[in-house]
């Protein structure tokens, strides 16, 4: 049956080619980011890029220091993680260890809805709902700030943290819980002294992925944080993140090949490197943890 065999081989080739597209995508990303930013670093030294405290490529007096964008990214992400991790982890513990099945069946899908809402909608909430609400308590909060998009981003990431931590808790064998209860421990003691330590690698993965997600978030900060590169860690004033800068330039009429155009690729590679490192750490922990799972 050479014809059938030929057909089988051909189909396998097609399938393999489809799988190859993911590799082409990675090569494409690396090529585009590297080639454009190499041009950028011919004109701006890498030392200036990493140490200058001003980022003003769109002004007449140009400065190309990534620090203000980096501080904006770190600040909003820090606020987001501060919201998402404690709440997400509590949700995971509650749903896994405490909640009656009926409540779990209703609450879990409802929380998943939070993950399905487009980010531009979250941006609207940050700008139109959360900022005015916070201004009632913090009068000095400006209309655009890091605090409100940070909080909203945290709410957006809650389902991510909750579901990854829940998977980690769920994977712990029941015998460990029984052993702890047998010693007379309460649920709370079991959670904090047995379950969370055993699930720590999974929980760490969820935190790292939450940070990575926050670094890459664009629309919430683009809408509500003000697009002003300030080198500050004050959450009450307007800031700009790496992602927002890329959006800001894309909205304007920037000539291809100009230094302004190249700056978005330089900003892009900074963002890519940050998230790439975080994602690989989490992938490595997850692989290692799967191998030693009880």
């Amino acid at each position: 049956m050479p014809r059938t065999e030929l057909k089988e081989k051909f189909i396998e080739f097609l399938l393999k080619a489809s799988a190859f597209i993911s590799i082409f995508t990675t090569i494409g990303i690396l090529y585009v980011l590297l080639s454009e930013s190499t041009d950028f670093f011919k004109e701006v030294s890498i030392v200036e890029f990493l140490t200058d405290k001003q980022w003003t490529p769109l002004f007449t007096e140009k400065h190309y220091g990534i620090l203000p964008l980096l501080s904006g990214t770190l600040l909003t992400s820090f606020i987001a993680v501060l919201i998402a991790v404690p709440i997400g982890l509590s949700i995971a513990v509650y749903l896994n260890e405490y909640s009656p099945k009926k409540i779990r069946k209703i609450l879990k899908p409802t929380l998943e809805v939070l993950a399905a809402i487009p980010t531009v909608v979250y941006g609207y909430f940050a700008l139109m709902v959360v900022t005015p609400f916070l201004q009632l308590f913090i009068p000095s909060l400006s209309g655009f700030n890091a605090l409100s998009p940070g909080i909203v981003m945290g709410i957006m990431i809650i389902p991510l943290v909750a579901s990854l931590s829940e998977d980690a808790l769920y994977a712990i064998p029941y015998s460990l819980r029984e052993a702890s209860y047998g010693m007379g421990a309460t649920k709370l003691q079991t959670v904090f002294r047995v379950l969370i330590p055993s699930a720590s690698s999974g929980i760490i993965v969820s935190i790292i992925l939450a940070i990575s997600r926050a670094f890459g978030e664009t629309m919430i900060v683009a809408i509500a944080a003000g697009q002003q590169p300030n080198f500050t860690f004050n959450p009450l004033v307007p800031i700009e993140t790496i992602t927002t800068y890329i959006v800001q330039v894309s909205l304007g009429d920037v000539v291809q090949g100009s230094i302004e155009y190249k700056t978005i690729y330089a900003a892009g590679i900074a963002l890519f490197v940050l998230t790439f490192i975080l994602n690989n750490i989490s992938y490595y922990i997850r692989k290692k943890y799967q191998k030693y799972q009880l």
């Binding site: 995508t25 409802t110 909608v121 649920k187």
Partner: protein, 287 residues
């Protein structure tokens, strides 16, 4: 006799239980506050004129016809591009190259791509699709961009669906003399169809809510013509919302809110279909 420390511990346990319930409800409460605000602010703006009008510089005569059609175009084109490639790649990884080094390399690669921020895909697309391939700011550029973005999701969910098909199904097919591909096509894929479809719908729902990569490829233009061809310029709902949100006039904010209701409705319908299919499929197929 119960000692004091046991009492304290039980008390702490009860407190934590309530705290856990509170944390879980916070998310739900916020969700409802958000939905309530949007519907309250935007509902009145939703009329026939809003759905059938072209963009305008006056908020009261502007509408979402162009971005709405753009969103439907993007939805269809992205499905056509991403689904065959994603499913094919998943079949290869799950059924053919399971143990070899190449497959595990692709696996690491896909895990990495899934974590790349969406705006980076915009930078990739701006160079490759818009400039080098010369597709410009067209629907096709946008659909290619979003397809690359959702490929990892399609591949991962398809693999999960394929994994859940038991080995006996494959063995039964082989025993009847079917070739590998015939087994996959006639036995494995039909059994996994529900799971694959669920994953695909969720991925598409993700794609139509994306804004950032499309802003980067330049889809933020003032477009007054209805897209009729894959190479036409386009806008989509999230971009229109962003555009209106960045204007100071109150009328445009109201328009943005109304457009958000439409976008959320589409997102929720897609997610609802996906959840329905998942439940139906899980209940029907019991191996």
């Amino acid at each position: 006799m119960i000692s004091n420390s046991v009492k304290i511990n039980r008390f702490k346990d009860r407190i934590f239980k309530w705290y856990g319930l509170l944390s879980t409800t916070i998310g739900v409460v916020i969700l409802f506050v958000f939905l309530y605000t949007i519907i309250k602010e935007g509902w009145d703006r939703l009329n026939w004129q809003f759905f059938t009008s072209l963009p305008s510089r006056r908020p009261s005569s502007a509408g979402i016809l162009v971005p709405l059609l753009g969103t439907f175009w993007i939805m269809i084109l992205t499905t056509i591009i991403a689904v065959p490639i994603g499913v094919a790649a998943a079949i290869y990884l799950e059924e053919y190259g399971k143990k070899d080094k190449f497959a595990s390399f692709i696996e690491v690669n896909i895990a990495n791509l899934a974590g790349v921020p969406s705006i980076i895909y915009g930078l990739l697309a701006l160079e490759i699709f818009v400039r080098i391939m010369g597709l410009g700011r067209s629907l096709l550029s946008g659909a290619f961009t979003l397809s690359l973005l959702i490929l990892p999701i399609v591949i991962v969910s398809t693999r999960e669906a394929l994994k859940s098909v038991p080995k006996t199904i494959r063995e039964a097919s082989y025993a009847l003399g079917a070739t590998k591909w015939k087994t996959i096509w006639n036995a494995v894929l039909p059994s996994a169809a529900g799971g694959i479809l669920t994953g695909v719908i969720l991925a598409i729902s993700r794609a139509i809510g994306e804004t950032a990569p499309l802003v980067v490829i330049g889809a933020m233009l003032y477009i007054t013509t209805i897209p009729t061809h894959p190479l036409d310029d386009f806008s989509v709902l999230p971009i229109q919302i962003y555009n209106w949100l960045s204007r100071p006039q109150k009328g445009f904010i109201e328009n943005a809110t109304a457009a958000i209701i439409v976008l959320l409705a589409i997102t929720f319908i897609l997610n609802g279909i996906a959840i329905y299919l998942r439940n139906k499929w899980q209940n029907k197929v019991k191996w």
